[in-house]
């Protein structure tokens, strides 16, 4: 079966894309699809004669798998929040269906527009299509509010892939996390679609909203500017246990960010496979919690009074620290550097969140800022290594 398919591709399809074939220019596109179907059988031409079975496709796909729990929960929660706001009771499947109708188009648009840009660049620059966007394409929808217009998703994705990645040379060369570049683009270009009370619950921005009286689309972070307890849900009713509700994810927010539990399942996948850095995740949590405690100790407003552990489950912190901060390309690359990098993301993220409620998503800005600072951290770590080694050989020689 698989042999027959391979022979068909090799004999019938490939010739058109080979040198001299009529579709020669589109070879990178062909190559991307062929290598998606079949891991090429080519053998080592130089260097070691045996190679590890891992490759970039597997690594990236596992990150996408780790995002699936957050995506599925996001789909359900989109329906759940909608029916809370409208006051209608709804069955589990109704929520899933409503959520799927709202969420899946965003995912499709993100992948379609991003991959289109990737393929065009691969064809123009005659290089292979890299797998990096498989992850970015899933991260982008999950960090956006459900009410975001689809054309904005496309615009942001295209902007992020071109300006955030391709101008630097493609996957592996970018300074900033691509998905966060897309989010930041929307955040500053269309702030009304990225914040406020209306965008987090589906149909919240519709002219004739069918929401029930007393309902609110305000996120926990938005509510925190006024109070540090007594938070209410989309129906306007007080949460039984705010921390647990936020941990489980029964709150309004960006599609994939609300459920810390679903994110932790993803984190477990990344940690077991060793793809996500535990150093960054751990130091990030410590950094955020430390900042939360400092605020609690010197609290002068309601936001500073919000219990430190709430910060770990509210807003985009968990999603950002697990999936965005650990992006190996834009993070610090040295072992020591990762601790510093993660800790500062946690610290700065909570600081921005609390000090400047106009930017409730402090985590996004903290990660982007630390993306820029990561090479500097690594520079000092490596310089210390260089100095240490120089001293050592001098000492031995003496």
């Amino acid at each position: 079966m698989s042999n027959a398919i391979h022979n068909f591709i090799e004999n019938k399809v490939k010739p058109s894309f080979d040198e001299g074939g009529k579709l020669e220019k589109f070879y990178p596109a062909y190559d991307a699809l062929e290598t998606f179907l079949f891991v090429p059988g080519h053998t080592a031409k130089r260097g070691a004669h045996i190679r590890d079975a891992v490759d970039m496709k597997r690594t990236m796909i596992i990150v996408v798998l780790a995002l699936i729990p957050a995506l599925l929960f996001g789909i359900w929660n989109t329906g759940h929040q909608y029916f809370l706001a409208t006051g209608e009771g709804a069955a589990f499947m109704d929520k899933i269906i409503h959520g799927a109708i709202k969420v899946l188009p965003i995912v499709v648009v993100s992948y379609a527009s991003g991959l289109l840009v990737e393929f065009i660049f691969a064809i123009i620059k005659k290089h292979q299509v890299n797998e990096g966007f498989l992850v970015s394409g899933m991260l982008i929808p999950l960090c956006l509010p459900v009410e975001i217009p689809l054309w904005m998703v496309a615009a942001a994705t295209i902007f992020a892939v071109i300006i955030g990645k391709e101008v630097f040379g493609g996957t592996g060369m970018n300074i900033l996390n691509v998905a966060l570049t897309a989010r930041a683009f929307l955040f500053f270009a269309y702030p009304t679609w990225m914040s406020g009370d209306k965008v987090w619950i589906s149909e919240g921005t519709a002219q004739a909203s069918n929401y029930a009286d007393g309902s609110t689309g305000a996120t926990l972070l938005a509510q925190s500017t006024e109070k540090s307890s007594g938070f209410v849900d989309a129906a306007g009713a007080a949460y039984g246990d705010t921390f647990m509700s936020a941990f489980m994810g029964f709150i309004p927010g960006s599609i994939g960010e609300t459920s810390t539990l679903a994110i932790l399942i993803g984190a477990a996948i990344l940690l077991i496979t060793g793809i996500g850095s535990w150093k960054i995740m751990l130091s990030g949590v410590i950094g955020a919690y430390t900042m939360g405690l400092i605020f609690n100790a010197f609290a002068v407003n309601p936001f500073m009074e919000v219990p430190a552990h709430y910060h770990l489950v509210m807003g985009g912190f968990a999603f950002g620290i697990v999936f965005m901060a650990t992006d190996p390309v834009s993070a610090a690359q040295t072992s020591t550097g990762k601790y510093v990098y993660g800790f500062l993301i946690g610290l700065l993220g909570i600081m921005i969140r609390v000090f400047n409620p106009a930017y409730p998503e402090g985590i996004m800005l903290a990660i982007l800022f630390m993306n820029v600072m990561a090479p500097l951290i690594d520079h000092y770590v490596i310089q210390a290594n260089i100095n240490r080694r120089q001293k050592r050989t001098v000492a031995v020689a003496a």
Binding site: A48, H49, I50, R51, A53, K57, R58, T171, I275, R389
Partner: protein, 451 residues
């Protein structure tokens, strides 16, 4: 007794076909060859023609950069071919062997009664000098240098590597003779590293005039670069020389008998070898008969002179390399695998936990030469570090070489490493970066810059 250096970062790739500890005489081979391609950075000048009669120890070629460094015939017979490739690149000098080997006489001598220069001269004339390599650059040592120390490694931790405790049993005297000669070459110490996880043969424990180090841990624990890094690191402007233990035996035999006796014991091993074991043979032997008799021909094979990490791909009728004590045969492979990037592939080795390999730590694999993916830019971090037991940042060093920043390469520690130290990095790399080639290019760049 000496302490044990425990290496933590590294990995043992367990392959099928480990050589059983039985020593057999290899059938006499028809032809033997010296391959100039085994020697990095030399400018070979051939001094024999096809049809010339040579003895074991007769000079076949020398290095134009260092004319005293000579390469001699391992057997006596007739030079049948001086094989050249593209751009007249010299590939092989092939000698058709006599039934009985005749030797050039270099004169037996007691090394402890000779001076340093006399020893160097003797080694050079007999063609044994090229066995001595140097750090930095991992090339043949320059006889004019004065190394600060010499490292002899008796521990080969590479996959399916020969066990020196087996090979050296009863060779203590000869080994000591070789050591006495080597010790004269430096004013510093002679370091001898052995496998610290197993019982060490008397030939090593009773060796005199050396500092014995026991090293244990996964590969590359046996790499001489690791030992140098931990016991006597090389800084800018410093040189150490390195030898494998069996090379010292060859040197010992020269002083014992006055002959260039190039016999050596090799392991013929790998998943595609039936009945793998040890063979006594001679440097440069053709592998034709060996592989025809011993290899399993049920599929296309990859024949390797050396181990699977650093060895050289040869033809079935190729020749054993100058520095190799092992012939490995693995399946070539080459079948595309449908959706192979997501299947768990229990038959493939990986250090990464995104495959199931880590759940079967004692499994022995029959790995083929497939790349298992395509080359990509660096993405995954702290991947090389887990198999690279140096206080050096490997990826940063590779990047410095890629951008040809010589000062940065020096600062990041290129003097301490050789391509073989990056072999495992190359194996585990998600992005399939050819790091051994890159490191070699970097070292050559630096060597040219400095000369």
């Amino acid at each position: 007794m000496s302490d044990v250096l425990k290496i933590k970062r590294g990995t043992n790739i367990k392959l099928q076909g480990e050589a059983e500890k039985i020593l057999t005489d290899a059938p006499q081979a028809e032809t033997y060859a010296i391959k100039p391609t085994d020697f990095v950075g030399i400018k070979p000048k051939v001094v024999v023609k096809e049809g010339d009669e040579v003895k074991a120890g007769t000079v076949l070629m020398y290095d134009k950069n260092h004319e005293e460094v000579k390469f001699t015939s391992p057997v006596s017979g007739e030079v049948v071919e001086v094989k050249r490739g593209e751009k007249r690149k010299l590939l092989e000098i092939i000698v058709l062997a006599d039934q009985e080997i005749k030797y050039e006489d270099f004169g037996a001598a007691d090394p402890s009664s000779l001076g340093r220069d006399e020893i160097i001269k003797k080694l050079c004339n007999a063609g044994l000098w090229p066995l001595i390599k140097q750090r930095p650059y991992d090339v043949i040592a320059n006889p004019q240098d004065k190394p600060k120390s010499i490292f002899i490694t008796a521990y080969d931790s590479a996959p399916l590597a020969p066990d020196n405790d087996f090979i050296f049993h009863g060779q203590g005297e000869l080994f000591q003779k070789g050591l006495d000669a080597v010790a004269k070459l430096t004013e510093g110490k002679v370091h001898l590293s052995v496998d610290g996880s197993a019982g060490v043969d008397e030939a090593f424990t009773k060796a005199k005039g050396v500092e014995l180090h026991r090293v244990s841990g996964p590969h590359p624990a046996g790499n001489v670069g690791v030992h140098i890094h931990h016991f006597d690191p090389v800084g800018a402007g410093q040189t150490v020389w390195t030898l494998k233990a069996q090379d010292v035996l060859s040197i010992g035999r020269l002083f014992e008998s006055g002959k260039f006796d190039a016999s050596r014991i090799i392991a013929i091993c790998g998943p595609q070898i039936n009945d793998p074991k040890y063979y006594k043979t001679i440097l440069g032997t053709t592998t034709k008969k060996l592989f025809q008799d011993l290899a399993n021909h049920d599929q296309q094979n990859r024949y390797i002179s050396g181990n699977v990490l650093t060895g050289e791909k040869i033809h079935e009728d190729g020749y054993l390399g100058f520095y190799d004590y092992q012939l490995t045969v693995i399946p070539e492979g080459g079948e595309p695998r449908m959706f192979g990037w997501i299947t768990p592939n229990p038959q493939k080795f990986s250090v990464h936990r995104s495959l199931v390999s880590w759940l079967q730590p004692s499994k022995k694999y029959s790995l083929n030469a497939e790349m298992n993916g395509e080359e990509r830019p660096f993405v995954v971090t702290e991947e090389y570090e887990q198999v690279f037991p140096f206080d050096v940042y490997p990826v940063q060093l590779i990047k410095a070489i890629m951008v040809e920043d010589i000062e940065l390469m020096e600062a990041l520690g290129i003097y301490e490493v050789a391509p073989e130290d990056f072999a495992l990095c190359e194996v585990v790399c998600t992005s399939k970066i050819p790091s051994q080639t890159i490191v070699r290019d970097g070292l050559e760049m630096l060597r040219k810059e400095m000369s």
